[in-house]
């Protein structure tokens, strides 16, 4: 999960790049240093071989003198050096074991330099250089000179170790710093995400906040805000359109209905005509119901967030509604149970909240087979008043859960109900207008449970409302 964020991915990829580059750098450094030390030492040995030959050429016949000259000049034991002069297999001079004891001069093998007349090679801790020389008589001598390689080895190992340890530490620091820097650079994005998450059409004028750090991010925020403007425009256009359309339908509906009623209530009509007119009138009633529902919906949407609220007891309202609807349940032999418990005072519009209860209970009765049960509960949870309407009905398949609250959506498309699939859409829009919500839990074949949540009335709001109530009560009393 964490590897899916831009920050982590970015840090991860540049760390990977650092590892590759660091690895290459490390390998190159270690190898070239090794090569360099060996080359330098070989060159030194070559020079020394020449020097040895120069000072020893005249004394080759006198081993005592030869040893004296070389020891005085090169002191091989003290300097960890190896010097050997031979002709063929006959050794004319050989240095003694050095003080450090890195190598044993007696075991150093005889290696013929071959055609190149000189050759450097590594034998254990000894870098050995052999070179052939000829004296005036044309006799061939070989000067073997060597130097302990232990020190060079130690330096190489030190370098490698410090690089192997240092690079990962460096990498870790770079990753950490990069992550922190990226997070800081992305702070405006976090702020925007938080704001965008809370955006709803309840508060259509809310926009993303601009935190001016990174011009591209600011540009993104501005672009998103312009998109919200356009969406708002389109949304209110659609909403207004459905309200206007429904509105315009009312007058023609009145005329059609009126004409039919006059025909139907006039002189006796032939059976088929009477039947046809009755059918049309019934459909007209349904059509009027849909028009009313659409207008209710768009009015609720325009009220989102500015609904006028009075204190309403959800528990008492539920009991009252159930008493009025009990006969509907009795007809189907469904046990409709009343909520028990204390009063749940929320802020709301009584008629609208009752409509929510009526729609939910009516649905529950409709979709529960005879002999089932519908139970209504009310209570308080997380500062919200809630009502649940649970039935033992046919349930709603999970595929439909998101869409049951959509306009004109029906789980069973062939049902000829008056509501035309607007009942739950109205429930949802009323809940939203109250700053609440409605949700569904359902198991097919076992039943459904709708839960409505409405914010509780706050103590401060109560007083304000009492005053507002008194004001509206006088203005409506003319009705």
């Amino acid at each position: 999960m964490i590897f899916r964020s831009v920050t982590s991915r970015l840090v991860l990829s540049y760390c990977l790049l650092l590892v590759l580059l660091g690895g290459a750098f490390l390998a190159f450094t270690v190898l070239s240093f090794r090569h360099y030390t060996r080359e330098t030492l070989s060159n030194t040995l070559a020079t020394r071989a020449q020097e040895i030959w120069n000072i020893s050429e005249s004394s080759l016949g006198q081993p005592q003198l030869l040893a004296q000259i070389i020891d005085r000049r090169f002191s091989p034991e003290a300097q960890d050096r190896f010097i050997r002069i031979r002709t063929g297999d006959t050794v004319l001079y050989r240095s003694r074991t050095p003080i450090g004891g890195e190598f044993s001069p007696l075991t150093v093998p005889v290696v013929e330099p071959g055609s190149g007349a000189s050759q450097a090679m590594l034998l254990g801790n000894l870098l050995l250089y052999s070179q052939n020389f000829r004296d005036e008589t044309g006799r061939s001598f070989t000067v073997d000179t060597g130097q302990s390689y232990l020190f060079a080895r130690t330096v190489q190992a030190r370098l490698a170790t410090s690089l192997f340890v240092g690079l990962p530490v460096l990498l870790l620091l770079a990753a950490l710093a990069g992550y922190v820097l990226m997070r800081r650079a992305l702070t405006p994005v976090e702020v925007m995400i938080k704001a965008a998450e809370t955006y709803t059409f309840n508060d259509p004028h809310k926009r993303l906040p601009m935190v001016g750090t990174e011009p591209r991010i600011e540009a993104l925020g501005l672009a998103l805000n312009r998109m919200l403007d356009r969406l708002d425009g389109a949304y209110s256009h659609v909403s207004r359109f459905s309200a206007d359309a429904a509105h315009e339908l009312r007058t023609p509906l009145t005329i059609i209905r009126g004409e039919l009623e006059l025909v139907a209530s006039g002189e006796r009509l032939p059976g088929e005509v009477d039947h046809a007119i009755s059918n049309v009138l019934e459909e007209m009633t349904r059509l009027s119901g849909i028009v009313d529902s659409l207008i209710t919906l768009s009015r609720m949407e325009s009220l989102w967030g500015k609904q006028s609220h009075a204190p309403i007891d959800l528990q008492a309202l539920a009991v009252e509604t159930i008493d009025q609807m009990n006969l509907l349940a009795e007809e189907k032999h469904i046990a409709l149970s009343r909520p028990s418990g204390q009063a749940v005072i929320v802020a709301g519009d009584r008629d609208r909240l009752k409509q929510v209860l009526v729609n939910l209970i009516d649905n529950a009765i409709k979709y529960t087979p005879a002999g089932g049960r519908v139970s209504v509960e009310t209570g308080i949870e997380d500062e919200m008043g809630f009502v649940t309407v649970e039935d033992s009905g046919i349930g709603i398949d999970l595929n439909h859960h998101d869409r049951v609250f959509d306009r004109f959506y029906r789980v069973l498309p062939d049902r000829g109900d008056v509501g035309a699939g607007l009942g739950l859409a109205i429930v949802k829009s009323i809940c939203h207008a109250h700053g609440g919500s409605v949700s569904l839990r359902s198991v097919p074949e076992f039943g459904s449970c709708f839960k409505v949540e409405i914010p509780l009335l706050s103590a401060g709001a109560e007083n304000k409302m009492a005053a507002a109530d008194a004001a509206t009560a006088t203005s409506v009393s003319g009705k």
């Binding site: 006059l262 028009v291 509907l328 209860l357 003319g478 009705k479």
Partner: protein, 226 residues
Amino acid sequence: MRILIVEDEKKLIDILQRSLRSEGYMVDGVNTAADGLDYIKTYHYDLIILDLQLPDGTGTSLLKRVREMGHTMPALILTARSDLDSKVENFQAGADDYVIKPVAMAELSIRVQALLRRGPALQENVLKAGTLEINRLTRQVRRDGKRIELSPKEYSLLEYLFLHSGRVLSRSMIVEKIWDQSFEGLTNIVDVYIGHLRRKIDEGFEPKMIRTVRGLGYTLDTEQVK
């Protein structure tokens, strides 16, 4: 009784005229606010029916003018606007009733009748039709002398049907009267209650009094039992 209708839709005026004339009213219809004002200045009307959206102004401003001129006849607003603000505004302007389209003609004529206070004077405490007897003080109902137990809702429904006997009451009228607005669109509740009422009032008795008029609603037939 003379009624004026101010409504921009000619066809609607035609239907309203035919419907109200069949009830015995004299009905004039005009399409504009200006014509409406002229007619009101010229003739005496017992009731005016106003649409809110007129080609040359609103029904509300026309109503205000009429009230300013001192006319006190009842005014009924017939409109497609169903918002509370519009209702409040018009009642404040002097409207006496507010009806939202589409409306059943039966409902409109009942409302007109109520505004004109011309309905049968049903102030008696005991309503009688044939063998059906309703005591409005004790809320007791008898048929053929037998006491019938009704729930409060069933009683209200029967009384409402009786007070408008002979007229067809639509389901939405009944819902609005006996329940409340929240039950709009839930008209099968009416069918259920009518079913129960029928079982108590009509089952085992002759003739049957509660009649279903398909597509329109229900009516209590008191004529045939007299």
